[in-house]
């Protein structure tokens, strides 16, 4: 029996779905094992659950989204938060730190007809089985979840920081050697240290690792000359609403 899969979208950029589509030539192979029952971006066949696996992309930002995500949960055996937006609210959650009306007025001249609430990850409203961190999560991470659910085991998703992967690639440390504000020490691994590999600091797009030493990260960033405001912006980018970051995010 093929795994019945649903892919759903809330407040997001669709980049996580596009990352999944980046499996390209591997798609026919995956189609031997899974059936996409519901994936509006790729198919006109929209079948109701139950689903063995629901991949939910996007943050929850309107009252309608809350009802929809609850309905999806009821129909799904395993529910996965696909990407930062679904995990913590991601980039769209940055607006939580500005007054709502202010955000609406800046983009829309007549904000009256636009309705939106604070932006949260989906676990604010439903139980999440696995979290695929990243903006977007790397394809290998997504496929690991497919494999695990097909085999009925827990997916192996890394909990250590990006620095571990970075050292594996033998990069020179941008933070200690070049005094650049790299978020690698507190950021969950899984991406393969993509940014330091190409000479850029980690911006923290995988959100916090399991047990980040935030106080010492803040200290390091201060040492290399970042202002409180700059530090705040670093933590309030991809995962500002994460419980692990909320404290600093109040800084």
């Amino acid at each position: 029996m093929k795994l019945k899969v649903g892919v759903f979208k809330f407040t997001s950029c669709s980049g996580c779905q596009v990352e999944l589509i980046r499996m390209n030539e591997q798609l026919p192979e995956l189609l031997n094992l899974v059936e996409f029952k519901y994936w509006a971006m790729a198919s006109s066949k929209l079948e109701d659950g139950p689903y063995d696996l629901a991949l939910v992309e996007g943050a929850i930002s309107t009252p309608e989204c809350i009802e929809e995500v609850k309905a999806i949960r009821e129909k799904s055996r395993v529910l996965v938060a696909l990407g930062d937006c679904a995990v913590t609210g991601g980039v769209p959650s940055i607006r939580n730190w500005m007054s709502q009306r202010e955000a609406e007025t800046i983009v829309y001249p007549k904000p009256g007809c636009i309705r939106s609430t604070r932006v949260y990850g989906i676990d604010e409203y439903v139980k999440v089985d696995y979290y695929l961190k990243g903006c977007p999560p790397r394809l290998e991470n997504i496929l690991e979840v497919f494999k695990a659910v097909i085999l009925g085991v827990k997916p192996r998703l890394r909990q250590h920081p990006v620095c571990v992967e970075c050292k594996f690639y033998e990069n020179e440390c941008l933070l200690t050697t070049y005094k650049q504000p790299c978020m690698g020490p507190v950021t969950a691994a899984g991406c393969g240290a993509i940014c330091p590999n190409v000479g850029r600091v980690c911006e923290g797009c995988y959100g916090p690792m399991s047990d980040p030493n935030i106080a010492s990260m803040v200290e390091r960033l201060k040492e290399i000359g970042l202002s409180d405001d700059e530090i705040l912006r670093k933590f309030r980018k991809y995962a500002g609403m994460s419980k692990l970051y909320r404290e600093v995010a109040k800084l």
Binding site: K9, I21, M41, V91, I106, P136, R233
Partner: protein, 423 residues
């Protein structure tokens, strides 16, 4: 009165809905409702550093991130007065080409092809065809990844250039796959040829960048078939945006005229002579005549671009020499805008930045916002020609026309649901 309802307009990026009421041949009411949850990008940029604009605006769209990054980086560089070197310009063109190939192939083979094949999706299509098509798409993906450090939301594009110099030998390796991919693209011409689509002509303004030096992508003047010829700095003086109650995407018009079309068809119509020889030959074989006023010809225009841009990518890779890819600059305040051609059309970014380097205001007009009103106007002309058909058929044809624009609802800020009501 008969009512037909399709729950979702699928195979487009994002969520929207079409409301249509017809009495005889007359369209009583037509609204393309884009009501995906807004994300307020212009607002969340405020108070962020100029350096973060590229990274954050990339998240406007998970398909055309490359162009958001490029419009953004160029606008910021204009504010700061940064002049990049030719190598950086070449790499930016190459990554833009990768982004367009990837996005066009996603649209053509995954979203549009099922209409031609009469299938709900490509999952049930011939696996051999699917593998070939996806290999073609993969080449675009790889080009982006190699230069950008990551496929979706690249990380190496920064103000002043790139954070690393992509290795020439890696690009050369890709050249071989590009040649293979081009064969697939050329073989696909019959799949999207004129006999596969409705014959429907509509006269409208078609706007695109144009540049005498090259097939315009990252730089050019804004031109149209109706005589528009302005610089990117004049965009806001000639294009006005209005908010409409039924949509969270704003609508655009050429001031004093009306709706307009941006995207591959506008580009190919305007700059046809700059396509590669093989692309122009493919156009001959397609049964469409360019310039074309059939909005369904947009699919062929995408394919022609894929062919032509592969040819160009090969030349660029050949010409590329490794070397410095980052220029120094000083932070200063000011405001400026820049336009690049996204896969779906012109993408305008404008920023006002303070002397402290923090963003004070932003104005972003992605292509789907600009096309939203034109899609409605096309439908208003198209529906009377198909009004004799069943509601189900009308709905599916309308969906196909909307799809030809390859709307990117996240970009426009916002499930397409098609409801057809016959009186």
């Amino acid at each position: 009165m008969k009512t037909v309802r399709i729950g979702y307009l699928t195979r487009v990026e994002g969520k929207a809905e079409l409301d249509l009421t017809i009495d005889g041949e007359e369209v009583k009411d037509l609204k393309l409702k884009i009501y995906e949850e807004p994300r307020f990008f212009e607002a969340l940029l405020i108070g962020r550093s100029f350096e973060e604009a590229v990274e954050l605006t990339s998240r406007i769209c998970g398909i055309c991130y490359v162009t958001h990054q490029l419009s953004s980086v160029r606008a910021v560089e204009k504010v700061l007065g940064v002049e990049v070197n030719d190598r950086i310009r070449l790499l930016r063109r190459l990554i833009a080409i990768g982004g367009i190939i990837s996005s066009h192939c996603l649209h053509l083979y995954l979203l549009a092809l099922p209409d031609v094949l009469g299938l709900p999706d490509v999952f049930t299509a011939d696996p051999k065809l699917l593998v070939k098509a996806l290999r073609l798409k993969a080449v675009g993906d790889k080009l982006v990844e190699l230069i950008g450090g990551r496929g979706v939301h690249p990380v190496s594009i920064v103000v002043g250039g790139f954070t690393y110099t992509p290795p020439k030998d890696k690009l050369m390796e890709l050249a071989q796959s590009l040649k293979e991919a081009k064969k697939t693209a050329v073989e696909s011409v019959p799949l999207f040829s004129a006999d596969k689509f409705p014959k429907f002509e509509v006269d409208c303004e078609r706007v695109a960048l144009s540049n005498p030096e090259e097939y315009a992508i990252n730089e050019g003047r804004v031109k149209s078939n109706k005589g528009l010829d302005i610089s990117e700095d004049e965009f806001r003086a000639f294009i006005e945006e209005t908010q409409v109650p039924h949509s969270t995407a704003k609508h655009s018009k050429v001031k004093g005229r009306g709706s307009y079309m941006v995207g591959p068809l506008s580009r190919v119509n305007l700059n046809f002579s700059q396509l590669s020889d093989d692309a122009r030959e493919a156009a001959e074989a397609s049964g469409f005549k360019f310039p074309s006023s059939n909005p369904f010809a947009a699919n062929m225009a995408r394919l022609l671009e894929v062919i032509s841009l592969i040819d160009e990518a090969l030349e660029l890779i050949d010409a590329y020499r490794e070397g410095p890819v980052r220029v120094p600059f000083q932070v200063k305040g000011g405001s400026a805008g820049a336009i690049t051609e996204a896969p779906r059309g012109m993408n305008y970014h404008w920023y006002s930045i303070g002397d402290d380097g923090l963003i004070k205001a932003a104005d972003i007009s992605p292509p789907t916002c600009q096309n939203a009103r034109r899609v409605e106007d096309d439908l208003r002309e198209y529906v009377p020609t198909i009004a004799h058909l069943s509601e189900k058929e009308i709905a599916s044809r309308c969906a196909m026309l909307i799809r030809a624009y390859d709307p990117c609802i996240s970009c426009a800020v916002h499930s397409i649901e098609v409801k057809v009501k016959k009186l």
